[in-house]
Each structure stands twice: as C-alpha cells, then as structure tokens.
Amino acid sequence: MKCSEVERILSEVLDGASSGTFPTDVDAHVKSCPDCSDLASDLKLIASEARQLAASEEPAPRVWLRIAAELRAEGLIRDSSIIDSSTRDSEPAFARPVIVPVPVPASPGWRWSALWLAPVAAAVLAAGAYVIGHKPAPQVAKLQVPPPAVASPAQVTQAAPVPAAPQQVAKKSVAPAGGNVNGAGNGNETGPAVEAAVEAEASTEDQQFLSVVSTLGPSTRATYENQLKAVNADIRETQAYVDRNPQDVDARQHLMDAYQQKALLYQIALDRIQ
C-alpha cells in the first residue's frame, strides 16, 4: 500500500477504528512507515482534542438576561411563580434559576423606593459610554469632569455626555467607571485611595439595589446578587485590561457591553417591581 493511498483514507479509517486498530493492510503500512505513523497519530490527536472543545465556553450572563427579556416581551412567560422545591433541590449547582416572584402586592412606598432604579440603569449605561468615549486622563483632572447622568440609547451609542438630570444618582452610578478608568500606571499616588472610595460607593449602590430586590424574596435576591457579582467582575476585569490597552477598540466595546448588561439587570428588576 502506498503512502498517498493511506493518507487519502486515513481519516475515514480512523473514524471507523473505534477499537484503535486499523484494517490489516493499513496497519501494516502505518507500522512500517514513520511518516504515515506520525500522520495517523496526529490526526487521532486532533480529533480527540477537538472533542474537548464542546461545551468549553461560558456565555456572558447578559445572554440569559436578553432571552428572559424577550420571553417576557413575547408573553411566553405566563407564570412567574417559584419552581417547586423538589425540582430546585435536584438541580445541578450551575443551574441557578432566576426565581421570579409571585406578583408581590407592592405598597406605594415600595414602588417609590424602586423608582431610582430607572435613572440608575440609564446612568450605568451613560457611565459605560463615558468610559469608552474618553481616553484615560490624569486622575485628578478626571474626577473634576462632571459625570454624565442620563442618556438615551442613541446618546449612549454616541458616547456623548448629557446634562445631569438626577445628579445625585448619576454621580453614584458613574463613580465606579470614572474611578476605574483612571487605571493603573498613571502615577497618581491618590489612585488607590480614590479607587477604594469609588468601590465603596459602588458597593453601597449595589447594596441598595439588592435591598430593593430582596423584598421579592431571598431566592430572587440571591440570583440578582450572583448576576451583579458576575457583571461587576466583568466590568472590573475589562476595565483593567482597557487601562493597560487603551487603544483596544474591541476591549472598549466589551466594556460598554458590560455596562449595558448591568443597566439591563437594573431595568429588569424595575420591570418586575412595577
């Protein structure tokens, strides 16, 4: 048997050789020919390694958020009651259902307390737009820049700061972005302190958000908390990368996506509450 013949049929032979053995004529050639032997083992290796790639990637949390939003919009979610406990107990660790509350009779005060979520969601988006729309600058100068407050989606895509409306809320929401965007390596000695303050403020904001959500039930709160942690981690990591690679357009877009995801999280909570 010739090398060219073996090469031509090798893939098919490999696929059929589940026991790891070749037909006699092929086997005889492969054993006596180092090149064909190498080719056979390489192709086998590629095929086996490729199998490891199935299910190797984790989608960003925003994918589920978008799907859930679409399902709600289309009316496919008709019942938001909690899935029964026997099912939940048998769920694998990675299956963390968003437990949608049985419609909670919201008190006027409760509704009012949730109203701040809307501008915060918008402000988170504006913060993202602001971050990707501006190159890193010295820290002090950046802190003096009035943060954008509320932006329409169109404004966000243009990365254009807009006049502050609910200024207080906006400042809080923008703070993490503004703080982080300063980044490492700018030589400003106040950086860590300012970033720590910013982190604390962001954490307060998230805690307020979670306290509102927790009235929908502990499971709902836990789910939102997990989502929030994931998106905050994404923002932090991407921000750090953007700080190191400010010209990386893809990274800046990813950062904007992460902010949009956080805004979406707030918006979904608002939709459920109202």
Partner: protein, 203 residues
Amino acid sequence: MAAGKGDLTDPKQGSTEAEAIEQAKQGHEAAFEVLYHLHKRRVYSLCLRMVSNPAQAEDLAQEAFLQLFRKISTFRGESAFSTWLHRMTVNVVLMQLRKKGLPVVSLEETLEAEDEAPRKEFGTKDLKLTGSIDRLQLQRAIDRLPPGYKTVFVLHDVEGFEHNEIAQLVGCSIGNSKSQLHKARLKLREYLKFMRAEKAKTG
C-alpha cells in the same frame, strides 16, 4: 444520534430537565432558566466555534434558545431535548452563514482547498505534533479554517455529528462531508505545526 454523546445521561439531571420542560410549557420563567443553564455552554460553544466571533456567537445562541422556547409546547420527547436544541442551533448558525454569503460547504472551496492542501514532506524531520495540543492553539487553528472546512470539522469532531447527519444539515453528500473533514484535519495539523514552530522561534 451522535450529537447526543454529550446528552444528559445523569438520571438526576435528566429528571430535572424533564420537569423543567413541563414547567416551561406552562410558562414558568424559572424553568426556562434551568433549561438555559443546562445547555448554555454547549450551545454557545458551538456557535463560537462556527463563527469565531463572541458577540455574534452570543446573538446566535440567544436566537437558538428563543426559537426553542417558542416551540417548546410542541416538544413531545420523541427525541432527546438536547438533540433537538443542538440541531436547532446548527440550523440557526448555518442560516446565518448563508445569509452572509459564506460557504457552508461548497465545491469551489473544495477545489481551492485541494490546491492548497498541505502536503506531507517526506524525509523531513519534525512532522509530528509530539502528542499534545494546546487547547487555545487548537481553537485558533480552527478559527483559521476556511468556512466550509470549519463547518464540517466542528460538527463532526467537536460536536459529534455523523457524516450522514452533516450531509443532511448542510446539504452536501456524505462523501463530500468525509472529504472536507479529512482536509480540515490536514490543514489543522499544518497550522498547529506552524504555530508550534513560531512559538519555538520566539520563545
């Protein structure tokens, strides 16, 4: 079906899935999310391998799940749920590739690739991949494959579809699927060897 090699064989997990399907038919959001989490990695990874673009892969995974959830009331359990979902995902991806005018499997691609097909250089050293492949390098090599090759390789070697299923899904002959898979593997081997050589040079 081979694509179901990674299906839910754990009875506990299968039971979770079955219950979630029934509750999703009633419109329970939590059930939809359980199903999503059970299958998200497989669906997203498939999309990502096929289009090599994370943002696009997210859109496609979203579309695949939405199509599935819209039709979930029609699911009667004749085939495995995961099989149903993965076929739907493949169709969503292939539809997208066709819309973009990218060849799923084309004669032109086959001919062109034959001309460029890597040749064995008999008598030269260092032909072997030395028994290990870095996963990241393999991903990058797959990304570099021509679309037609990539489709067949991902469906067969990554996702575990059989050639007759691939032929049905992409609309080619079984022989064509086999041929493209073989050439894809040869090309990958060359890419991987090239990457390894580059890494050795720089490093």
